[in-house]
Assembly symmetry: C2
Homo-oligomer: 139 residues x 2
C-alpha cells in the first residue's frame, strides 16, 4: 500500500503537521500538509507545508531562508496528524559569542508558541531574535 | 479582553491542541479544543479536550486514569493553535526497577506518534507498555 494512502486526509485533503526541533525537542510551529506537501517533504528532506491562506505549497524558508531539515516523519495513532523532527536553519544572534537560537517563527522568535497563559491573559515570553522586516526584506 | 476571545476558533468552534510532556519534551498527542474545553483546562489544571467523534468534552484520562496535569498553556503566533506542557499520569512498567514511561496513547504506548516513515512505509517504533484491554477494562 502506498504510504500516502495510509494517511487520513481531512475533507480539505489536509492533515495537521507539528514541527519539533530535534536538538532541543522544542515544538517550533504548527502547519498543514496536503498529499503533495508530505510527498515533497519526504523527497527533499526539507519541510514543505500547504499554506491555507495562499492556497499553495509552501517550502518553509523559501523567503526567510529559515528552512527545516527533516530527520523524522511520524504519524499518530489515528493516522491523521504528522510530526516532523527537524533541524531549524537560521540562528540568531549570528556571529557572536552568545548562545544562538534557531528562528522558526515569522515574528523572528525561536518558536511560534511564545504566548503563555497566566491569570486570565496571554503574555509574550520569548525574545524577538531578528527583526521580521530584515528577515523578509526583498533583495 | 477575555483571553478566550483572543483565540481564533475555526468554523467548527475548535482549535488544534498539542500535548507535550514537560519532563521529556516529548510530543505525546494531538487533539482538539473548543472554548469550554480550554476554559476547563485552565480552571482544573488538567487537560480537557473536545472529542470530535463523541461530540462532547473529553477530560483526558476519564476512563484510563491517564490524566494530564497542565503546567503551561501556550498559544501560537496566529492565535489558532494551543500547546500544553503537561505531566502525563500513569506510568508503566509500574512497581518495578525498570525505568517507567508515561502512557498517553490509547494503544498503551508512551506517545501517539509511534509510526515512523522509512523507505516508503510506516513502521511502529514504540513498545506497548500496557495492554489497552487492561487500561480500558470496565470495573
Amino acid at each position: 500500500m502506498n504510504w500516502l494512502n495510509e494517511v487520513k486526509w481531512d475533507e480539505h485533503g489536509l492533515v495537521p503537521a507539528i514541527a519539533q526541533e530535534a536538538v532541543s525537542n522544542d515544538v517550533l510551529m504548527f502547519a498543514w500538509m496536503n498529499r503533495e506537501a508530505l510527498q515533497k517533504t519526504a523527497e527533499l528532506g526539507e519541510a514543505v507545508y500547504f499554506s491555507r491562506s495562499r492556497k499553495r505549497l509552501w517550502h518553509k524558508g523559501e523567503e526567510s531562508g529559515h528552512r527545516q531539515k527533516v530527520h523524522e516523519i511520524r504519524l499518530d495513532c489515528d493516522n491523521d496528524v504528522i510530526l516532523l523532527k527537524v533541524t531549524q536553519l537560521g540562528h540568531e544572534p549570528a556571529n557572536t559569542g552568545s548562545p544562538a537560537q534557531s528562528i522558526a517563527c515569522h515574528t523572528g522568535r525561536h518558536s511560534c508558541f511564545f504566548s503563555l497563559y497566566k491569570d486570565g491573559a496571554w503574555h509574550a515570553t520569548e525574545p524577538v531574535l531578528k527583526d521580521p522586516a530584515v528577515i523578509y526584506k526583498k533583495p
